[in-house]
């Protein structure tokens, strides 16, 4: 079962910065700039980066909350590879049965006027699946599956009657009820308490196995990404700078940004002395960026080659470990 489910080719998303009412935009934020990756069925790809890296935008592009500026997103829908970036109308709606999203904020992602039943049943209602009784049945099953037992006691609660962890479980139930093949999880645990977080993490891993769901797991927390993803992609200012097997990338990082990122993560052990991250400067916004390497002004290893050449391409340095750097 190692067929490719998602294939992203040269995906770009630029947001215009308009000045004034009638002037045409000349400044664009290159939120996602020419990225390429694939996700195989059953695996989970972790997308990590800091703010402004473009990871959330990528997630939204993959569920078509945003339309790409250019590039293709190819997904296996009902056995056929479809470019979802240009879908409209009915076919867009049908595509939505296969891709769902879990949001970051458990407090905001549920309609406060909907009961748990309404929220979880909504995808079924919108997609016209089943009648009322069948939906009730499926919702109850789903609630049990995400650990909200007994389901009957949760069906008619409102979000303000639930805790953060419970709300996130409801969000997961909603995402999985129409049995999508691909789920984008946008920092689903970052707003939860630590002791609740692990429960949700394990729930997602468990369900991935049981229901055969493929994940794109977006997070800024490398430690969480280590547990939730089999492959890891590191983004910086709209570009993927490193990609590979999670353990490989974390233990043997090749790109200077990845190395800096890893050395910046605090370790829960007072005995451990972290090296100082090899990075200078501060993160900026990718507004009309120059064609050179995105990481140039922060890299401590930059040489003349880096200054004179365009942004390095993402290349396989062996064993599926991709890096975009001239110095490797």
């Amino acid at each position: 079962m190692s067929e490719t489910l998602v294939r992203v080719e040269n995906l770009c998303k630029y947001f215009p910065l308009t000045r004034g009412l009638f002037r045409r935009a000349s400044l664009f934020v290159h939120a996602v700039d020419d990225i390429n990756f694939t996700i195989k069925r059953g695996e989970s790809l972790g997308l990590v980066g800091e703010s402004g890296s473009g990871k959330t935008t990528t997630g939204k592009l993959l569920v078509r909350l945003l339309e790409p500026t250019s590039g293709r997103i190819l997904m296996k829908v009902d056995g056929e590879e479809v470019d979802i970036s240009t879908l409209k109308g009915e076919s867009l709606k049908r595509f939505r049965r296969h891709v769902q999203m879990i949001f970051q904020d458990p407090y905001e992602s549920l309609n406060p006027r909907f009961t748990v039943f309404d929220t979880v049943a909504e995808p079924l209602v919108v997609q016209g699946i089943g009648n009322v009784l069948e939906r009730e049945e499926r919702v109850a099953q789903m609630l049990a599956l995400v650990g909200l037992t007994p389901p009957s006691s949760f069906l008619f609660r409102f979000p303000h009657e639930l805790s953060g962890g419970q709300r996130q479980r409801v969000a997961i139930a909603r995402a999985l009820i129409i049995e999508p093949s691909f789920v984008v999880a946008d920092e689903p645990t970052s707003m939860l308490d630590v002791s609740i977080r692990t429960g949700i993490m394990y729930l997602m891993l468990d369900l991935a196995e049981r229901l055969g769901v493929t994940y794109l797991y977006i997070t800024h927390d490398l430690a969480v990404a280590r547990y939730m993803s089999s492959r890891l992609a590191v983004m910086y200012l709209g570009k993927i700078v490193e990609m590979g097997e999670t353990e490989e990338v974390l233990q043997k990082p090749l790109h200077p940004y990845t190395r800096a990122l890893i050395s910046a993560v605090p370790i829960p052990d007072p005995r451990y002395k972290r090296p100082i991250p090899e990075i200078k400067g501060a993160i900026s916004e990718p507004i009309n960026p120059p064609p050179t390497c995105r990481f140039l002004d922060r890299c401590l290893q930059a040489t003349k080659i880096c200054q004179d050449s365009p942004h390095p391409p993402l290349e396989d340095k062996g064993g599926g470990h991709y890096v975009a750097c001239y110095m490797v």
């Binding site: 703010s51 630590v194 993490m201 829960p268 007072p270």
Partner: protein, 322 residues
């Protein structure tokens, strides 16, 4: 042996709400020595922020101190009036709030805000002297003084955090309470700020209290660590002791629930259940409903907060063997 600068004795504070009395901080005792940094760890609702604002006496209207003492450099802060407390706030104890962006007034320049803070506490100071001080503070926290006269919205998140730290240092306080100082920041900026806070502390000898839900951050910056749960201080010890020889099951659970990017990929432990409702906290030991070692006595009586040797304090009926 450095003298103790803050001594909290059996401090209890409740919030009066429409639904009832919320037992936010219950019978907490701890001591911090001068120049030391104490990290307070706990999940949301555990009382760490409530304890912090109690020390500063920045309590909301519905907060009631039910008992106990907070001795700061010998003076009990609890019975002090607002006027008397003002002599301590910012001048001797200052605080870096969570979401520091909100501490900065958007309509004033950053330099003016810091100078105003200094004027309030030092009385009239020479303006150019004050500006010199602000420039020094900026350099201290890693900000280029050329940004001094800008407005807060022109700063990035990391810069604002540093500005707030500079403001907290402006009056040269003896004690700084930092409530989640780096939570909203990217990890590289966080690293920078944590290093600077540590360096500052060593340089100025300021006593610090760090509050965070992130035990990794606390591990890096604290000499001593206190674990709070449901309004109670359940364990207090040197940083290494807490991590490698935890006594309280909650502490051990918390350690094991934290993923780490180094070392072998071990199984993460989930602590079952949820933090309790403080309107009606569990009887006896507040952690007993979620504790796998709970016994009858845990349900009935609250364990004593006692010393297990070399300053390692914990309150548990069934302490873990280190």
């Amino acid at each position: 042996m450095a003298e103790s600068i803050l001594k909290i004795e059996n401090f209890t504070m409740h919030y009066m709400t429409k639904a009832g009395e919320v037992s936010a901080v219950d019978n907490v005792s701890l001591e911090i020595r001068k120049g030391e940094s104490l990290g307070l760890v706990g999940e949301s609702g555990c009382g760490k922020t409530s304890l912090a604002i109690s020390i500063m006496k920045l309590l909301p209207e519905n907060a009631v101190i039910k008992g106990g003492h907070i001795y700061f450099d010998g003076t009990d802060l609890v019975p002090l009036s607002e006027d008397e407390m003002r002599r301590f706030r910012w001048r001797r104890i200052s605080m870096i709030f969570q979401a520091a962006m909100n501490s900065l007034n958007p309509v004033y320049r950053v330099s003016d805000q810091i100078i105003e803070a200094m004027e309030t506490h030092f009385g009239n100071i020479d303006y150019s002297e004050a500006r010199e001080k602000v420039a020094n503070l900026f350099r201290l926290v890693g900000l280029d003084p050329k940004f001094m006269d800008q407005y807060p919205h022109e700063y990035s998140g990391g810069m604002r955090q540093r500005a707030v730290i500079a403001m907290a240092l402006a009056c040269e306080p003896d004690l700084i309470i930092a409530d989640e100082p780096t939570t909203a920041l990217d990890v590289i900026v966080q690293d920078n700020i944590l290093r600077e806070l540590k360096a500052l502390q060593e340089k100025l000898g300021t006593t610090m209290i760090y509050i965070s839900h992130d035990i990794a951050v606390i591990a890096e910056v604290s000499h001593r660590i206190g674990i709070m749960y449901a309004g109670k201080l359940v364990e207090l010890a040197d940083a290494e002791e807490i991590f490698h020889h935890p006594i309280h099951p909650y502490t051990a659970g918390l350690m094991s629930a934290f993923p780490s990017i180094i070392g072998p990929k071990r199984e993460l432990v989930t602590i079952p259940g949820e933090p309790p409702d403080l309107l009606n906290p569990p009887s006896g030991c507040r952690f007993h409903p979620r504790c796998q070692y709970a016994t009858e006595v845990c349900r009935e009586k609250e364990p004593e907060f006692k010393d297990y040797g070399s300053g390692h304090m914990a309150s548990c009926w069934n302490p873990l063997e280190g």
